[in-house]
Symmetry: C2
Subunit: 441 residues, 2 copies
């Protein structure tokens, strides 16, 4: 029975990932009926436009571009999408340029320049589809004039080390860029700009995903100054960065466009793929398999071991009392947890989540937990995650493997490799963070 | 509206605590119909017994004893209950003896001796009701002969510092005691022994609550040896402790009674008050107030801030997507989290949970979270916990209070005192750990 549970958990995970396949995700929100382009609940009459262009950046954006080509066929005028090296898809009209990720490089800078050149030429008669996915920020590196890519990265690293929050980092980064924080929308204006977004950020905040190139930016140069003051960074920042921010604070360079500016009035952003979509598809598959499913939250963050403990506390309660749902039950959650690496082993947050859960679930019958990254790559491994049940610890001990030692060494990959309990999907070409499945029969 | 939410959260908490009032809890499982004593689903014919005795130990055990007196009236022969200093209740037939808690003392030792003297005299014609509640372990100190109370406590402290788990500590402690690990049941044999238990341990394991004086002990002297070996404690333990354990390992002193021994065959243990009972009563009250309630788990342990984050992740998801339940929703959980004290402030795990949650919920409308200890005492404070909502952080900042600084200083009590958001119930005379209420309207 345990083996079947694991197999069912894998099926449920796969159904979740399938739902956020970039090609399918785009096509779910983009269809053509005669001359009418249906965009979710919006409609656009293509006769209003002379040119229709697809631009974009992100690891999944080649696959998204392919979907756009398949939907629009010869209506499409052309376009340019920037992807991570080797993250390609066969395209006919849309150019693909490869660049560095997660560390931005000169190719990324040149590609972003080409993308800017393209949109700057467009006018009111043009429609632009902007295809954004995870990695889009690193693939669109374009510091303001006078700041080199190296200097911008140095500033980012300083912020990172200072203890600044992600929000604070983004506030500064947007003000060091020519395209982030709604500035790409300003460059594309007065063309009509529709963003199709595959979200890899918890909570799907449009102004945060890839630092929101097409979304109004509520943050200001004044707030940048507050961040620099708070972390006493003024004297350590590269001189070019410091002087640009000072000019901004003095009003000598224009602010990023704010959310209420008219350039955004005809624009639209559509989340074509989100963690919640994957969770819902997983829940649907679980119901098909006879489970009562309960989606807990797509917003699970924080320490991996602690998050695992919460999931197992719910699983055990189902066994004990039938709360929060009665058996056969399937709990589903998403988001992205963090690992503080203390050991020298090989693993990822999902495999470590599963290992921590295995310790909590030791000896329990009829319970199974799967944790996997929807991109198919968990940490620097070829696994997406792992699957565990109440026998996992006993099976490990019988093979001479001490689960606590593997956990302490952050060596979850080798632990599950020995047990043949890795979840291996190969690269999925999508990324909406993680998906966790808990089955209680 | 926010204010109403907080008031409703307080009502829901109070309903939860009311359900585990020791007096009511006992009476829910103990009723007299003519000559028949109804014990949950069991029945006892009182004509089979000549004497009916009530013994016990724990912070709530005076109130439990009072309930027994009220139910049995003149059928009761007498008894003896050991309570923490000043944790009294008016009793007529059952003697109350006060003793030290959480540190055991000589009064506790003497009281335990009297309790043992009482049960040793009993025979097949006697019925004993054993009233156990939180604190029962410290209030029943009776080391085996040859070991002083101070030596037993020294051994316990060594185990604690060594990093031994609670399970490992209990294994050793049971084997250093004359009453724990089922030994009180052996002393009371052949009387019929019914334990009525108010549980303050996550998961309500009968052999762990107060080290299970009336419950068969699956652990052995051999396992004690393994614990000592594992943490290299043999040379640091008091000589008396070491020599007793060695005698036990060599079979020179009897083992604790094992679960399958005949002495337990006519005994019964009833959990009259548990965390889950409080959660269910809270959920019922929430439903009365119009909320769809969802009991997450009574088993929530781990780091307080991380646990708070999990609860707020679910609250935010309810706002965003209606998962795991649709609004108006009430999430309920129990258990007991831990705090790593780093600062010098005043607070408790529940107040700290609420403070961490307030930071996560900043700016959110229609959401409220309450966290409180069912005993009415959170850490070394006169508050049970605290109540927060999306305005808490803004209200604090307006008063010049920085929530993050208070959290870092473990100073949640003073934070909520300034905001008048403490949950103050006074001592409730019960303890089934913590109760958390999340309202989303």
């Amino acid at each position: 029975m345990q083996k079947d549970l694991k197999e069912e958990a894998r099926q449920i995970f796969k159904a979740g990932v399938r739902a956020v396949d970039p090609n399918e995700a785009v096509k779910r929100f983009l269809t053509l009926e005669g001359n009418t382009l249906l965009l979710g609940e919006q409609e656009l009459d293509l006769e209003d436009f002379e040119g229709i262009w697809a631009i974009g950046a992100g690891k999944a954006s080649a696959a998204m571009a392919q979907a756009v080509e398949e939907v629009l066929e010869d209506r499409l005028s052309g376009g340019l999408v920037i992807v991570k090296y080797d993250h390609l898809a066969p395209l006919e009209k849309i150019r693909l340029l490869e660049a560095g990720h997660p560390t931005p490089d000169e190719n990324g800078w040149r590609a972003t320049q080409e993308l800017v050149n393209l949109v700057e030429k467009l006018g009111r008669q043009d429609l632009v589809l902007f295809l954004l996915s995870g990695g889009g920020s690193a693939l669109l590196p374009m510091p303001v004039e006078g700041i080199t890519l190296a200097e911008k990265m140095a500033a980012t690293n300083l912020l990172l080390k200072s203890g600044a929050s992600i929000q604070e980092m983004n506030t500064v980064r947007k003000h060091l860029s020519q395209v982030k924080g709604g500035q790409l929308a300003r460059l594309a204006h007065p063309a009509t700009l529709i963003s199709l977004i595959l979200s890899d950020v918890v909570g799907d905040p449009l102004d945060v995903i890839a630092s929101g190139p097409t979304v109004g930016d509520p943050t200001t140069y004044k707030e940048c100054q507050e961040v620099l003051d708070r972390y006493a960074l003024k004297d350590t920042l590269p001189a070019s960065v410091k002087s640009h921010l000072e000019e901004g604070i003095e009003g000598k360079v224009p602010e990023t466009p704010k959310p209420d500016e008219p350039i955004f009035s005809r624009n639209l952003s559509i989340l074509v793929g989100t963690n919640m979509q994957a969770l819902k598809a997983a829940a649907k598959q679980a119901e098909k398999l006879g489970y009562t499913s309960l989606i807990l939250s797509s917003l699970i963050e924080g320490d991996t071991t602690e998050a695992a403990r919460f999931h197992t506390a719910l699983a055990k309660e189902i066994v004990m009392s039938g709360h929060p749902v009665v058996r056969p039950a399937c709990l589903i959650s998403g988001g992205e947890t963090t690992v503080v690496v203390r050991g020298k082993g090989k693993g990822g947050r999902n495999q470590e989540f599963a290992l921590a859960a295995a310790l909590d679930l030791e000896g329990l019958k009829g319970v199974c937990l799967l944790c996997g990254g929807t991109d198919g790559t968990d940490g620097p491994t070829d696994a997406a995650g792992a699957v565990v049940d109440g026998d996992t610890v006993a099976r490990a001990l019988a093979k001479g493997l001490n689960p606590r030692e593997f956990l302490a060494a952050n060596n979850s990959y080798h632990f599950f490799q020995h047990l043949d309990d890795l979840l291996i999907t190969g690269p999925t070409n999508t990324n909406v963070m993680d998906l966790r499945v808990v089955l209680v029969k």
